[in-house]
Symmetry: C2
Subunit: 220 residues, 2 copies
């Protein structure tokens, strides 16, 4: 019974990591579609989100099934509850990648406003934060988790920079307004992805250390 | 034991409803601050969010405690798992109200751009969706839950309207740009609140009916 449970838990963890990989890939493809102006790739991100959504439902069901059948205690219980939360964040990361792709399809109707520098940088940071958050979870690494929470500020800072730069464009040339607003919204979506990675990292910290850093680091 | 469990579950449900009331109130106050141009009220929304965040952590712990001590099965297990998810949505609703308030504080530095009509309308709709989603949960009302998911389109439609109207302002007068972008972002935050209410409603439907309408109604 014990061994069977461990195997199922291991399998669950693998599926979670697989889902995280899909979410990371969605971010990467959404940004590639934006930078390389590939409408078909943006469309693909939107279509492929169905698979991420499906995985959320499946993994949640698996979590509930494990709880019902094995009634795990303490650490295992919290571990499963944590997976239950992480899939929710991952599903929303997928949604944000879809939002980026929708804005990209809008943007591709008009010529390029400006070469994109900070937005791809934000995407790489957010993607790496998500990857590290999952690594922190898999390896139960509280220090990595804490470090991720701090990196959120960097993404926020880039987002502010993107925002202010685009305000200048709009003010100087009203013809840039719709594109600039689309890019501001894309910045927001990437910032939200970093927030989800931070949520996961906060939860990992809590799981490992038993006390929360949630809603606290912000004030540090 | 059974009776004790029922009592604790009832108490947990009451706290969840209390938390939902706080989240609803935050939306209401955030919009009142915007419409009546009250900076102090916007500040209060930001400060009071701490209490909502705290409740999330507490209710999650209570859920895990109940699972560990009583190892409930089937329906009760899913009910508690559902509360675990709902508090997460409510916490994010609180965050969105904070975001609205931050944009409001920005907006109050400049004169009123235009009388606000659609944004308060969106806020009322989102607030009501959230209230109904919690009612659907408490009363296990699948039909109410399904109806809420459909109302999400109305909020999305208003948000598009807000967006297009503000684009016109910006294009005609660059001096309105920062304010218009703030209002566009506020529209987005309200749309996100309606999405959280929809998430809750989808989960309630699943809990009651045993199959999901998630990621499906959108295409209906």
């Amino acid at each position: 019974m014990e061994r069977r449970f461990d195997e199922e838990l291991k399998h669950l963890k693998e599926r979670l990591v697989g889902m995280a990989g899909m979410a990371e890939q969605s971010i990467g493809r959404a940004i590639k579609a934006l930078v390389d102006r590939q409408a078909a790739l943006a469309q693909a991100v939107i279509q492929d989100d169905v698979a991420i959504n499906q995985l959320e439902v499946e993994i949640e069901d698996t979590c509930l099934g494990l709880l019902a059948r094995y009634q795990p205690e303490a650490k295992d219980l919290r571990f499963i509850a944590m997976i239950f939360k992480i899939v929710n964040d991952l599903e929303r990361v997928g949604d944000q990648a879809v939002n980026v792709s929708e804005r990209t399809l809008d943007l591709l109707k008009e010529p390029l406003l400006k070469p994109l520098i900070d937005i791809p940088k934000m995407a790489v940071l957010a993607q790496q934060m998500l990857k590290d958050a999952l690594d922190a979870f898999v390896n139960q690494d509280a220090e990595l988790a804490r470090a991720i929470c701090r990196r959120d500020d960097e993404v926020d800072h880039l987002n502010d920079q993107v925002y202010h730069e685009l305000l200048v464009y709009m003010t100087q040339d009203p013809k840039t307004i719709t594109r600039a607003v689309d890019l501001i919204l894309i910045g927001r979506h990437l910032e939200r992805i970093a927030d989800h990675a931070t949520n996961i990292a906060e939860d990992v910290y809590y799981l490992v250390r038993g006390h929360t850093i949630k809603h606290r680091l912000a004030g540090e």
